[in-house]
């Protein structure tokens, strides 16, 4: 078993195409791993196609790129980040690859690299996409929903369900929800469900995040299928599989405040600009930006002992009584900058009740206030 698989692979690839493919694939390759084989990418040259594959055991991807001239098929396994570095730094239009004397030789213009190869038989087998039980969701809708939720998930939280995105598809309703406990993003869409799918699973946020990046303009649909412990997603070029996160997702419907009686419509850009300004005068210890609502005026104020303070005003349409609420501005800047909506509705009640950002029926984002005294 220890003998290395002999291969004679040889191919030529378009550098830009390869760079894009490799960047996606390498993004899940861990920088450090107790299993060194996972730091590799597997390249398989087939008939006029090159397949790139990587996995961190939670999320796996295989990505097919065309615009490849395959002279001899074969499979190699090489250190992913080194190969990415090489392709990033090269400037030629084409890059030639060939296995020579158990090393992968990379040639472009006047540059030559010889890259150490790992044993292909050690590389984990990626999950197979089951032929049946596949259902489809429209690409544009789904990619937008992922983009609007994935940032709200926690990173490496002890409550595992917080590290994932809830994927809930039943009847013709598709919901994606992510939270880190401080804020919660909930994207909703009506999607036809002829196969009467009913799934409710938690998917690692980085898996869906990767999926939203590998979709391309010519993908109309994303194919999905869910097994006991995996969700698999398929686009024209890529297959992404994610190990499901076990655990109970928090009851998100209950934390949406029902009684926010103050609704403000903002220009997204203007609100974003004011928040970014206020954000400057916060630090780790004083993260809050205070919103003070007065008749026709909204004032944002922030202050941090070691940094300074800011007062930023904005004219609004408001005739109610004066009130205040404080938020971590980062929790509002993040959704505002990716929403791509011209206007946004902010709903509030008082200083203790979560605030709600809303985009029609499609999106609800809830953020807990900061209590300042």
């Amino acid at each position: 078993m220890a003998t290395k698989t002999v291969t004679t692979a040889k191919w030529r690839a378009d550098r830009r195409e390869l760079l894009e493919a490799l960047s996606h694939v390498a993004s899940i390759v861990p920088a450090k791993s107790p299993k060194p084989i996972l730091q590799n990418v597997m390249l398989t040259a087939m008939e006029n196609q090159l397949q790139l594959a990587a996995t961190d055991l939670d999320v796996s991807i295989s990505y097919n790129m065309d615009r490849v001239e395959v002279h001899r098929p074969g499979t190699v396994v090489v250190y992913a980040h080194k190969l990415l570095n090489i392709i990033q730094e090269l400037t030629a239009q084409h890059v030639d690859f060939e296995v020579v004397e158990s090393m992968l030789r990379v040639d472009a213009d006047k540059s030559t690299f010889r890259v150490v190869m790992d044993d292909t038989s050690e590389f984990p087998t990626l999950p197979e996409f089951p032929a049946k039980d596949e259902f489809q969701v429209p690409k544009d809708v789904f990619a937008t929903m992922i983009k609007r939720t994935e940032f709200a998930a926690a990173r490496e939280q002890a409550r595992y369900s917080f590290n994932g995105i809830l994927f809930h598809f039943a009847k013709s309703k598709l919901d994606l929800v992510a939270t880190d406990g401080k804020r919660l993003a909930w994207a909703r869409a009506k999607v036809s469900n002829r196969k009467k799918i009913d799934v409710n699973v938690i998917v690692p946020a980085k898996g869906f995040s990767l999926l939203s990046k590998v979709v391309r303009d010519d993908d109309e649909k994303i194919g999905l299928s869910v097994t006991d412990n995996q969700i698999l997603a398929r686009t024209k070029r890529a297959k992404v599989s994610c190990r499901l996160i076990e655990g109970q997702f928090p009851s998100y419907e209950e934390v949406v405040p029902k009684d926010c009686d103050k609704a403000f419509t903002f220009s997204t850009d203007e609100l974003l600009s004011k928040l970014r300004q206020s954000h400057i005068m916060t630090d780790q210890e004083s993260r809050a930006v205070r919103f003070t609502f007065e008749p026709n005026l909204l004032r944002f104020s922030s202050q941090a002992v070691n940094v300074g303070e800011s007062k930023i005003e904005m004219v609004i349409d408001y005739g109610g009584e004066e009130f205040e609420v404080a938020f971590n501005p980062e929790y509002l800047i993040e959704p505002l900058k990716i929403l791509g909506e011209e206007t946004i509705v902010l709903k509030l009640k008082d200083q203790d009740t979560p605030g709600i950002l809303e985009v029609g029926d499609a999106y609800v984002y809830i953020v807990m206030p900061i209590k300042t005294m």
């Binding site: 401080k182 210890e285 809050a288 203790d352 979560p354 209590k371 300042t372």
Partner: protein, 394 residues
């Protein structure tokens, strides 16, 4: 005579001379030798933060109203303080200290205690280290300082002050009584105007004269603090140099008359101490994340155990739950019992700025209200007037 092992010269007190003003002079050499006053504006209600020695000749000193300083020294150059900049210079100074010992206790931006015991074999004795630090601060940062070297903190601080600026004074164990004797009693830590007056009324002006009183006499004059004065006047001080990260804490402790073995009783005492600690934390407007339990055994062995919470708190109950967990799980109570127990809160921040949690956690508001009520009642009726029921069983 070489210093005895029990009282080696191992404590340094380094005090920067006219710190803010010296930095300003360094930054703008045209200011050198001229009266420089760093502080608020003379027109407003500002005060002097620091005065160069040239300004001090006119009677200007720190904490004086800036207007008064201006009258005393009309041609002084007034500079608004740049605290963050001074703090960054302090960092550089501390980096020099760190080449010699990790036991550094800064008292403010411009002074610090260093414990260099155990460094002698590697770096030379405390006097050599003190000289070296003073030179390096002068050479590398172009700033003057005064250094005191002594067997303990009290004497080291006293020493650094004796020959300012650019002073270097060593008070060895065998010379301490002689050096202290002629100094005014006000040199003792904690002797303010009132105490000074009481000593003077008793005909005691110098530290030497104070030594004529017995411990009992001092205690009858000044209460428990009299005992401290008794020791200080003899140059005795056993406080340790506490590195900064530990010093930024608020704690309460109590010593038992007899060693306590009963865990339940310890838990009860702990609740009272936590109440005191938390009340002080709240009074000073702090929030803290790290709870520390301190226990001293019958044989004076001391242990501390800490736990860091998910988020800062100032609530008695949250601190108590953590302290009690430490007592129950991290401390073995020996048969002969415990002499002292204490609880502290550190990792302090000034703003509560508590980010709310969508899915619960401890009910902050309710706890705040209970704490506020307890604080009020205790303020009104004394600390034993109210206690929390059933807590020690929870």
């Amino acid at each position: 005579m070489p210093p005895t092992d029990s009282h080696p010269l191992s404590i340094l007190h380094i005090d920067m001379d006219a710190y803010y003003a010296s930095i300003e002079e360094r930054e703008d050499p045209s200011l050198r030798g001229r009266p420089v006053i760093v502080g608020g504006s003379a027109e407003g209600r500002g005060v002097v933060s620091a005065a160069s020695y040239a300004a001090r000749k006119y009677g200007v000193h720190s904490a004086m109203p800036a207007g008064q300083a201006k009258r005393l020294c009309p041609h002084a150059i007034f500079i608004r303080p740049r605290i963050r900049f001074y703090a960054s210079v302090s960092e550089q100074i501390q980096n020099i200290f760190r080449d010699y010992t990790p036991l550094i206790q800064p008292l403010s931006l411009d002074e610090a205690f260093l414990d260099v015991s155990g460094c002698e074999r590697l770096l030379g004795d405390a006097v050599k280290i003190g000289r070296e630090i003073q030179c390096r601060v002068k050479d590398e940062l172009e700033l003057p300082s005064s250094v005191g070297v002594a067997p303990n903190k009290f004497l080291a601080k006293l020493a650094s002050d004796l020959e300012k600026p650019n002073g270097f004074v060593v008070i060895p164990e065998e010379k301490k009584l002689e050096i202290l004797a002629p100094l005014p009693a006000s040199r003792l830590w904690g002797v303010g105007k009132v105490a000074q007056k009481r000593l003077q009324d008793a005909g005691l002006k110098t530290i030497g004269q104070m030594r004529e009183l017995t411990k009992e006499q001092l205690v009858s004059m000044f209460g428990v603090w009299g005992e401290t004065l008794y020791h200080l006047s003899r140059g005795e001080d056993d406080r340790e140099v506490v590195p900064e990260h530990e010093a930024k804490s608020i704690s309460h402790e109590t010593t038992f008359h007899e060693d306590v073995t009963d865990k339940e009783r310890l838990a009860d005492v702990l609740l009272g101490l936590t109440e005191d600690t938390a009340a002080r934390v709240r009074r000073r407007g702090f929030w803290g994340r790290t709870v520390t339990l301190k226990v001293r055994y019958h044989d004076f062995r001391r242990i501390t155990r800490s736990v860091t919470l998910d988020r800062p708190t100032q609530h008695t109950l949250e601190i108590y739950h953590a302290a009690k967990m430490l007592l129950e799980e991290k401390v073995k109570i020996p048969q002969k019992g415990v002499r002292l127990i204490g609880v502290g809160l550190s990792n302090l921040t000034t703003g509560p700025d508590v980010q709310g949690d969508l899915f619960g956690g401890m009910d902050d508001e309710r706890e705040s209200k209970i704490d506020a009520v307890v604080d009020e009642i205790r303020k009104e009726f004394g600390r034993d007037s109210i206690s929390r029921g059933g807590l020690s069983d929870s």
